[in-house]
Symmetry: C2
Subunit: 347 residues, 2 copies
Amino acid sequence: LNIAVLAGDGIGPEIIDQAIKVVNAVCEKKGHEAIYTEALTGAAAIDAVGDPYPESTHKVCMDADAVLFGAIGHPKFDNDPNAKVRPEQGLLRMRKQLGLYANLRPVETFPSLLHKSPLRKDLVEGANFMCIRELTGGIYFGEKGRSEDGNMAFDNCVYTREEIERILKLGFEYAMKRNKKLTVVDKANVLETSRLWRQIAQEMAPNYPEVDTQYMFVDNAAMQIIQWPKNFDVMVTENMFGDILTDEASVITGSLGLLPSASIGLHTSVFEPIHGSYPQAAGKNIANPIATVLSAALMFEYAFDLKDEAEMIRKAVTASLEQSFVTEDIDKENAKKTSEVGDWLAD
Amino acid sequence: LNIAVLAGDGIGPEIIDQAIKVVNAVCEKKGHEAIYTEALTGAAAIDAVGDPYPESTHKVCMDADAVLFGAIGHPKFDNDPNAKVRPEQGLLRMRKQLGLYANLRPVETFPSLLHKSPLRKDLVEGANFMCIRELTGGIYFGEKGRSEDGNMAFDNCVYTREEIERILKLGFEYAMKRNKKLTVVDKANVLETSRLWRQIAQEMAPNYPEVDTQYMFVDNAAMQIIQWPKNFDVMVTENMFGDILTDEASVITGSLGLLPSASIGLHTSVFEPIHGSYPQAAGKNIANPIATVLSAALMFEYAFDLKDEAEMIRKAVTASLEQSFVTEDIDKENAKKTSEVGDWLAD
Ligand SMILES: CC(C)[C@H](C(=O)O)[C@@H](O)C(=O)O
Ligand SMILES: CC(C)[C@H](C(=O)O)[C@@H](O)C(=O)O
């Protein structure tokens, strides 16, 4: 198993270390060999070589079967809209260059964490859905710029049939594997790109007669996620709407520190926790490694097609939650250290 | 008081009737004279004259001191991305032609309705903030279109300094009138338009030294609204983000049927409930008129600068909630009819 390791900034390195312990334990048990190649990204890469996604890092990713990613971002780059180089640019470049067209985020609740949910327990208990966000198109990557005097700015949102078809296909396929309900989120009452999305979805839907395909405006989806999260099975949407809705969906579970993500690519795939680089906690050995460990489980499943291995990791995580062998964000009184949780899970 | 009345579709006419009763009662008490001019809009206008915002309606609005608006939308136009004329087009045209550049939505909780909130009571109780959404710019009104073969679509998001300054000014001024905290929501780590927003906000902030100005990415805002709604005082953002976030913010209160909105314009201002046309309930005399009645209160306050009159209406609404003289969405067992609630409030 040829794995590129991009630890990134803040708590990235600490949490990645725990995921690697767990991957090693699984490999030992099941007779696989994991080969890790580390590479720079984010603020760490800017500091070292002036580029948040250097060519050397891209090469490491291209040569790998999967990329395990920590987190990027550093406060020194915030609130400076005119900074020339930003960690985020590296992330966007990585997505584009690796062709990471689909970001998958399972939204799941954990019984032992339900009291952390901001929602009423009856609404969120048992919620379980998959958000699929288009990741290499739309307003993120369209032409953008300023007028000469700087007083007008624009960002163009563009989508092609090809881009839309491949992500919707993934949506329909996931719905088939799950509870056969697909919610296509758009703003077709206002945007031409959304009308193209909806048109293509309507063309494709007859090929999946078992799937109940629904169309929902993004403003309505932002409400439904809070009001009836259990009504969703698979949700698919474009890049900008996905950025907003997947983050909204992740907090309703109360388990932000536990949620993994997978970005499926044309060249390779990237597995990373959905939380950020949490700079205030960096180096303190207090960050929750579970989202990263569960990202490694997604890696076994999606990148290596090793479902048993993924299941082993998930069972270990469930056990740690049940026995409350967890970091301070989950259990303040009996808090374990990041590295202790990693050791326990590997063990 | 020269008021244009655009009742629109679905429950629009019924709820507008109740607001008019209340406005009349207030006018009688305080010695004002209200003159109403009705005009067509929405699906009703498409059916009658083939245009959701006919020139004759626009003229009525331009001649009025304020517009009281019901709701628009009809199921027969949904899921038809290629419908030539849609009710929404009328709404967007109205916004543009009347120069309704700012949509104000107070987000408020009502003690008697807290159990309806999807959020945990401790998180939402006492939440009270103002969402200000830019309403005539951005991706809603930029150039949009298709490639010749129809397989590529685009929507351009454009903002000018002028558009941004006038809405941020409103944001700062509201913050001064309230708790002096302004949250500017953007996506400055990705979008050029957002970077212009943030740059201008940073230029303006020193003119309001008492205001604590914060900058927040839209994905983070979508989380914070659910996790810490009480941390917001005034939030200001661009059109598309505002569409999503204001709807999200409105459901956390559990009182969607009670929330009014004001759209401040260059030529006149429009006051309307934030809920939709609720076609399933149309004609049944069961719809909740309170959001529309409270929109009339906003009208007294913003359009006519008559604060006592606005307060009278709000007191009546509070009393109806306390005594549970309300429609079935709030109290199933002792449900009153739409018209009964209107009579009671006017009385
Ligand atoms: C950091 C930022 C550019 C990024 C995005 O908007 O895609 C992040 O919010 C995410 O969701 O991964
Ligand atoms: C109907 C639609 C065009 C409209 C919008 O997106 O602005 C609505 O959602 C709103 O928020 O008033």
